[in-house]
Subunit: 455 residues, 2 copies
């Protein structure tokens, strides 16, 4: 007899993962390597170590080891806010009247309000191990900046955050949370870097973007002694650390004899989705099990669904290495939507490759439809979701409603990456009927793609 499934599955400390799952190591066809911007050759560990601390640079290039041990200090920190619960959405299922079983992995029960802390603490740990003074970073919605501030406070590192200007303005209290953890926060683009000044000169009224904040953070790290750069998404190392989401999810499902049919996650740079699907995709790649994976992106920044698979810069200022990925072009300036964390022109190379190989699907959704789903979910399941996370809710509900039509009892698992407590200005716009959708024209996308580097 199957065990009765509780509303919330919490693993015990003993069941927490001891090693991260390195998805790329399971791929026979590897993602294309990062290229050095100066030589256009695959980047070396040495060059990469000028940007990231050594251990992280090594993880960035490691596509061989299937599992990488989680350091004890990081596991101890994980214990402060993990395991994250895997929640059976009994109330949502009932409200929808669907025969589908819906689960969501909730990563919002920590002060950063999201999954970002999973990688922040690992990156801060390695920086501390290497004897660095501090790190610089960018943040969009603010979760990553908060997460890194928390991690740096824990290990006694300095933390400098470049925050995308429109988020800085939409989320005035985020800055204060980061300050509580001792970080210095600068709206981006800023006058404090060369690349910031250049972008401001070209686009004086820009709301900023992740790509542009990244450039500023990298420049600052490279020009300051004892500092390295830390990034909250896109990178292989981040996907690696985020695999703790998928590993816990899989252990919890296995424990109750449940098998997922569809796994859904929002995708900006791809870190949450990459982490969530890691052990499941590893099974699929080994022919051990089959799953459908759906990446959900905003219609205003449709990287996978309307972008091109090509080498491109990871940042607007072109100071980072090049990555082969689905991209809208590093010059694409996404509209100031309410899902700041998803306003990124590219997609992590691993997910790009899996999508190109048709191992994963993608869908884009408009933000008004996303907020409809968010409010509906909040009233039924209690949790107030972040706009980014609500992209996954939207598609999970759509898939559950398809099951209602067909009568199929599918098991749907989605990642609920975080909470929306700092997004109330966005919810207010939605309540007041003032939220609009913005879908870029083909012409806009073509124009940005025309500037892709010729490689």
């Amino acid at each position: 007899m199957k065990k009765e499934i509780p509303y919330k599955i919490y693993l015990s400390e003993a069941e927490l993962p001891k090693a991260w799952c390195n998805l790329r190591a399971f791929m026979k066809d590897k993602p294309a390597p990062l290229l050095d911007g100066a030589t256009l050759q695959p980047i070396t560990l040495e060059t990469l170590s000028k940007i990231f601390c050594k251990e992280l640079a090594a993880q960035e290039l490691n596509d061989v080891d299937k599992y990488i041990e989680i350091p004890q200090e990081v596991r101890d920190f994980y214990k402060m806010y993990r395991p994250a619960p895997l929640i059976r959405a009994y109330c949502l299922e009932k409200a929808l009247g669907t025969p589908a079983k819906i689960y969501y992995k909730f990563e919002g029960n920590n002060t950063s309000g999201s999954h970002k802390l999973n990688s922040a603490i690992a990156q801060a740990y390695y920086a501390k191990q290497e004897g660095l003074k501090g790190v610089t970073t960018e943040t969009g919605a603010g979760q990553w900046g908060t997460a890194l501030s928390m991690a740096c406070a824990y290990f006694g590192l300095d933390c400098q955050v470049f925050m995308v200007k429109c988020s800085y303005e939409q989320k005035p209290f985020r800055r204060e949370v980061m300050r509580t953890y001792g970080a210095k926060v600068t709206p981006s683009p800023s006058q404090s870097t060369e690349v910031g000044r250049k972008i401001l000169h070209e686009f004086p009224n820009t709301p900023g973007s992740l790509g542009c904040a990244i450039s500023e953070a990298v420049e600052t790290a490279s020009k300051t002694d004892g500092y390295r750069y830390a990034l909250g998404s896109v990178l292989n190392q981040v996907l690696l650390h985020q695999s703790v989401i998928g590993l816990e999810t899989k252990t919890a499902l296995d424990k109750y004899g449940e098998k997922a049919d569809i796994i859904i996650g929002c995708a900006g740079g791809g870190s949450n989705l990459g982490g969530l699907i890691a052990p499941f995709m590893a099974e699929k790649l080994q022919g051990k099990a089959d799953y459908r994976f759906i990446a959900v992106e905003p219609a205003s920044c449709p990287t996978l669904t309307r972008g091109k698979y090509a080498y491109d810069y990871c940042d607007t200022g072109k100071v980072c290495p090049l990555s082969k990925m689905y991209t809208l072009g590093s010059g694409f300036m996404p509209a100031a939507s309410h899902a700041g964390g998803l306003r990124y022109h590219g997609m992590t190379s691993t997910l790009s490759k899996l999508y190109d190989d048709k191992l994963m699907e993608a869908r884009s959704v408009e933000q008004t439809k996303v907020f409809e789903a968010a409010e509906y979910f909040a009233r039924i399941e209690g949790i107030l979701p972040a706009p980014e996370s609500s992209h996954a809710i939207r598609v999970a509900i759509d898939e559950a409603m398809k099951c209602k039509e067909t009568g199929e009892e599918k098991t749907i698992v989605f990642g609920l990456t975080g909470t929306g407590y700092f997004d109330m200005m966005s919810y207010e716009k939605f309540h007041d009927g003032k939220m609009t959708d913005y879908i870029p024209t083909d012409g806009e996308i073509e124009k940005a793609l025309a500037k892709l580097p010729k490689i």
Copy 2:
């Protein structure tokens, strides 16, 4: 051999309480009864049922049944956000270098951001059972209003919230969260009630207070068909529902063979503290075990430490029954401190009686010292605490430091009632060095106490 204690103890669904613990039923010397304002006689079930729905009125008067079953629908809702974790503060212990063992029961992992949801869902359930259209209420810091909004959304009830004006202004996004759950929010005092207009006439620039918002909510409920009033603290029924906090805490400690020495909680109206201590105090009253209990209140509103034990009105407008309690006088207008949830002139009658009988201690602390503790705690334990909750953190740290001096290995348990995500304006003041302390003079308190009803 003792089991190894994890960072976080989560009970299983099967271990969740099936009945609330009614602390008063364990007391030989009962708290004095509520008095009817019109007759000055003990209030009857009939009269009380005009304010509260019947089942809640019955719970309010029940000092006989030691345990009261939790309805299945309420238990199902509890499963959506409970069990709340009991967290072993390993990192804090290490940072303080104390031999004390520190535990905290964290109630912030739900959208209301606090323990308030425990009673909100019970009150909404009984209102729905009785066929009401909706409920009215007051809210200070906003947690209670959010909690009741969530509970009403779940059961399809209308919800009207009077929010203390200074909190309404300090926490602009709280209103939007309540709106997400469909509630109507009015800053108090308002022009929409008789009592509100009267108070505004007398004190045009008042920042408002809980006592005054209560009066407006009660008046609105009594004048609207199909509505009753719901209150988030002070009442016996609320302490009853909040006993889930203490019951879970005790089960978790017992499971690991731990015995608390000191139990600490912040106290505004007393609901969190009353709930936390319920099963422990029940043991103490039966001579089964001994504990020290410490109520922590703001120095700006020192109800227990500087108030008088006497019959007083529960609200500024004197529309509620009278309660024998520690009070600063219903006319006392507390300074607009940053712990809106603790700005209440009185204290629940049960805790007042226990304090008067010397079964519990009390301590008052200044808000700058509270924010120092809050920030320290956030950086070490990760969780960003609410200012209210941080009162308990302050005293827990103080007690742990005493253990460091004496070398005693005491076990300290405190209630971490909620998160501070909506308190960033207060944190900002603290960071900028602009936060001041306000301690009422003896003259101010005497003046308010002089107006106590002569009973």
